[in-house]
């Protein structure tokens, strides 16, 4: 009884699925290893046996050579795994933001349940949502593979191929990044001075904020965060020629912007303005601000979907 050899065979056996074949396969490998070890180091020596075992290969790799398993997802469908996941996830993410915005839970197949919770929960729920979408797509592709039917999987052709994306104009991006940086620094300076970005006049001695302190600070921070994210995004694009990275930057930036818009929109219910505004105008201003933010959110959401779908084309060169 050679302990190391038996342990090696046990490890190979662990990966073999057919119990009927397992014993025979292991007997054959045992016979081969012992014979080779004897030939190379008669009388049989443990050190030589170790060497022969090592040369035979790692247990998993040895076992895999006996397994003729079909792929979980057929090679022709594998590229659709990330394409569809990103497409599904982009819609899912928009729904998550809407759920947080209206603070309402809802159920839409195949997303099942979209919780209407706090904005902070978006960050916790988003990875779970992605994994769920990935799982759903993987399951569908697995089923298609399993049926063995010739299925032509659809893919939207609305000019969002990554190769069709225009190359980033580097000089323009650099200039844009510089301007954005200057604006962001200026905004940070204003915020540090007044704790808000929205002031009626920029007279440093006679400062008058537009919004009340709490919502004013929150909205200002959201705008600052968007400006900072935009600046970072532009700098990344300016120093990298990768279209894939540019898509990533845009997608992250869109997602971030949606969250920030949601934060701002949630402040609409609370008393907002610190200055005296006639009641009739106040109602109008609330409505106008809400509609404007919704329109912006809609465009950002469309851009997010397009960017995520582009990223779904995983195999395209960056």
């Amino acid at each position: 009884m050679h302990k190391n050899l038996e342990k090696y065979l046990e490890e190979i056996g662990h990966y073999l699925s057919d119990p009927g074949e397992r014993e025979e396969i292991l007997n054959e490998i045992r016979s081969h290893i012992l014979e080779k070890a004897e030939q190379e180091g008669a009388p049989l020596d443990e050190a030589v046996l170790e060497k022969v075992i090592a040369a035979y290969g790692a247990p998993r790799r040895v076992a895999e050579k006996y397994l003729d398993g079909k792929p979980v997802i057929a090679p022709a469908y594998q590229r659709f795994l990330f394409r569809y996941t990103w497409l599904l996830f982009s819609f899912h993410f928009v729904l998550i933001v809407l759920g947080a915005l209206f603070n309402k839970s809802f159920t839409i197949f195949p997303f099942l349940f979209v919780p209407g919770r706090d904005i902070a929960d978006i960050f916790l729920y988003t990875p779970t949502a992605f994994l769920t979408d990935f799982g759903i797509v993987a399951l569908v592709l697995y089923y298609i593979t399993w049926t063995g039917k010739e299925t032509r999987l659809p893919w939207p052709k609305f000019a969002i191929d990554l190769n069709e994306a225009k190359p980033v104009a580097r000089v323009a991006t650099m200039i844009g990044a510089g301007i954005m940086l200057a604006l962001t620094v200026f905004a940070v300076r204003i915020f540090l001075e007044f704790q808000t970005l929205f002031v009626v006049s920029l007279n440093f001695e006679k400062f008058r904020p537009l919004f009340r302190p709490a919502p004013g600070r929150l909205i200002s921070l959201a705008v600052l965060a968007m400006m900072a994210a935009g600046t970072i995004g532009l700098f990344i694009k300016a120093f990298s020629a990768s279209r894939r990275l540019a898509c990533w930057v845009d997608a992250v930036s869109d997602g971030f912007a949606l969250v920030m818009i949601a934060i701002v929109l949630r402040q609409q219910h609370a008393p907002l303005f610190a200055v005296n505004i006639p009641a009739r105008l106040l109602a109008w201003s609330h409505l106008t601000l809400t509609i404007t933010l919704f329109v912006v959110a809609l465009f950002v959401a469309i851009d997010l979907v397009v960017n995520l779908v582009r990223l779904g084309r995983r195999r395209q060169a960056g």
């Binding site: 074949e21 396969i25 007997n27 054959e28 490998i29 016979s31 081969h32 012992l34 014979e35 080779k36 030939q39 040369a55 035979y56 290969g57 790799r61 040895v62 050579k65 006996y66």
Partner: protein, 112 residues
């Protein structure tokens, strides 16, 4: 370049090894004896590749394996079957045809 050659060689070996085994098994042999026979001919074969291949050929009925228990250590001895001989004849014909095609093209290239 060596890596690429290695990976293409692995692909070529996959089919060639099946033919080689069918040719070698004109006389009955067990796994380790086959490895040594190939090595003596200058053909290195990964041992952990040979046994799964023998198993597949056996499942397809091209060879037949039988455990011999009379020796000091049990050994599985393989023999070619009638369908195995027919398959071998077919594979040899394909191999010869391929060899002719390659030789013909190389000769043409030399004269060009």
């Amino acid at each position: 370049m060596d890596n690429e050659l290695g990976s293409i060689e692995t692909e070529m070996k996959r089919g060639f090894l099946q033919l080689l085994v069918l040719v070698l098994l004109e006389k009955d042999a067990y796994g380790y004896a086959m490895v040594r026979a190939f090595r003596e001919l200058g053909y290195e074969v990964e041992e952990n590749t040979l046994y799964p291949l023998l198993r597949r050929l056996e499942k397809r009925g091209l060879i037949h394996g039988k455990w011999e228990l009379s020796e000091e250590r049990p050994r599985k001895v393989y023999a070619i079957t009638r369908p195995g001989r027919e398959m071998r004849a077919g594979l040899l014909a394909i191999w010869k045809k391929q060899d002719e095609i390659i030789t013909h093209i190389i000769k043409e290239n030399e004269h060009a």
